[in-house]
């Protein structure tokens, strides 16, 4: 039995789990410019006149100042007629809710039902990261992924799991799946990107599920050993995991 993870560790796992949930639609910078700021593509002749913009800007400032003065006056009981401190009705720009994706939860359920502090031998065997002194620290579940945190000394490994359909939307179920390995921390020297903060690599595996491994404070040797020890789940293991309840209870 291991002690419960400290708040910093839980926070790291939480952030990594949350980040793994995000799925961005394909987009090019040209589309962004065209959709969100069409005037950027205009020629100088087509551009709105800058002096008009300045006038509009000054007028806006004057209006804001006038409203501010009026509101201040209203608080002292001297509100002019027609001025109200009540916010205006209407929709709020940029407040559209995100729509949760429909997913299957097989491996996620398996992880989320694990009691904190107990080593999940079955999953450890599946991923071969429980050996060599690595101990299970805890687990964290998000809406679409779940994480297990392993530790050895100061090093930390997070195994994240989730439905394949969110990673490779175009792949047929059970045919192809991405294994995403994300490496965090400056001590790691495995294909880090230009910023040295993180890197993602992908492989195809015939399992129908993906796993994401995040590493913190990891030596390059340890990281390489863990990456090389990753194995795809066997059909029997997948069937076993798929038999878990089809939901992720709140941790």
């Amino acid at each position: 039995m291991n002690p419960a993870p400290d708040i910093e560790t839980r926070l790291r796992v939480h952030y990594m789990t949350k980040a793994a949930e995000l799925r961005l639609p394909p987009l090019e910078i040209g589309d962004v410019i065209e959709q969100r700021h069409p005037s950027m593509g205009m020629t100088a002749a087509e551009e709105p006149r800058r002096d008009v913009s300045v006038l509009v800007g000054c007028a806006s400032i004057l209006v804001v100042v006038a409203i501010g003065v009026a509101l201040a006056a209203s608080r002292t009981g001297n509100a002019p007629n027609g001025i109200s401190a009540t916010p205006a009705n209407g929709s709020v720009p940029g407040a559209s809710p995100s729509v949760p994706q429909t997913t299957s939860w097989s491996l996620c359920s398996a992880v989320s039902t694990l009691p904190l502090g107990d080593a999940p031998d079955r999953l450890a065997a599946s991923y071969s990261v429980g050996a060599d002194g690595w101990t299970f620290i805890g687990s964290e579940r998000g809406p679409s992924v779940a994480s297990m945190l392993w530790g050895r000394g100061d090093a930390r490994v997070t195994v994240q799991t989730g439905p394949e359909s969110q990673v490779v939307p175009s792949a047929a179920p059970g045919v192809a799946v991405s294994v995403i390995v994300t490496v965090f921390g400056r001590a790691v020297d495995i294909e880090t990107d230009a910023t040295g903060v993180s890197h993602t690599a992908s492989w195809l595996m015939p399992s129908g599920l993906f796993t994401s491994v995040s590493m913190t404070n990891m030596s390059a040797t340890d990281a390489a050993a863990i990456l090389s020890s990753l194995r795809p789940l066997s059909a029997a293991q997948l069937n076993d995991l798929a038999g878990q309840p089809p939901s992720c209870p709140r941790a």
Binding site: A19, V92, P100, F184, A194, R250
Partner: protein
């Protein structure tokens, strides 16, 4: 206050911005997502940030750092906006469809300045000096916000 430079310049050499967009869009969106908890909003914030980079490209010395600052500014504006929205009557608010968990709920009760520092340290793994530079605060303030943010979290998670 984080304040990226602004102003009108010549159109951006699109190839460079394209490369930046391809390599930094996803990491920046993930940073925005851990700070806002809303995928659509995060994408919008990052797109706005890239527009700022596009506009100011010729005057930017470090586009990645500029982009990150612009994203953090966008997240801060969003939180201000949310705070205003929370004061509106319930029927005007957008429905909350986000699935909550214990730490998300606890983080939601931490003030945004502390939350931003926590994300930069524990998600981006940035040192205090770099966080201080990004947020334009002193390193001691970074340490103070981290300590207070963690204390807030402990208070929520370990009552």
């Amino acid at each position: 206050m984080i304040e990226p430079p602004s102003g009108q310049t010549e159109p951006t050499p699109i190839a460079d911005v394209t490369e930046l967009f391809r390599t930094r869009r996803e990491p920046m969106a993930r940073l925005a997502y851990v700070l806002t908890g809303d995928a659509a909003i995060s994408d919008e914030i990052v797109q706005d940030a890239f527009l700022k980079v596009h506009t100011d490209w010729s005057r930017i010395k470090n586009p990645s750092a500029y982009l990150r600052t612009a994203v953090l500014n966008g997240c801060r504006s969003y939180h201000r906006h949310i705070n205003v929205e929370r004061r509106l009557p319930v029927e005007r608010r957008a429905p909350e469809l986000t699935v909550h968990d214990e730490i998300s709920d606890a983080l939601a009760k931490v003030s945004y300045p502390r939350r931003a520092v926590l994300a930069l340290r524990y998600f981006c793994d940035l040192p205090d000096s770099e966080i201080a530079e990004i947020l334009n605060i002193r390193p001691a303030t970074v340490r103070s916000r981290v300590a207070r943010g963690l204390k807030d979290l402990r208070k929520e998670l370990e009552p």
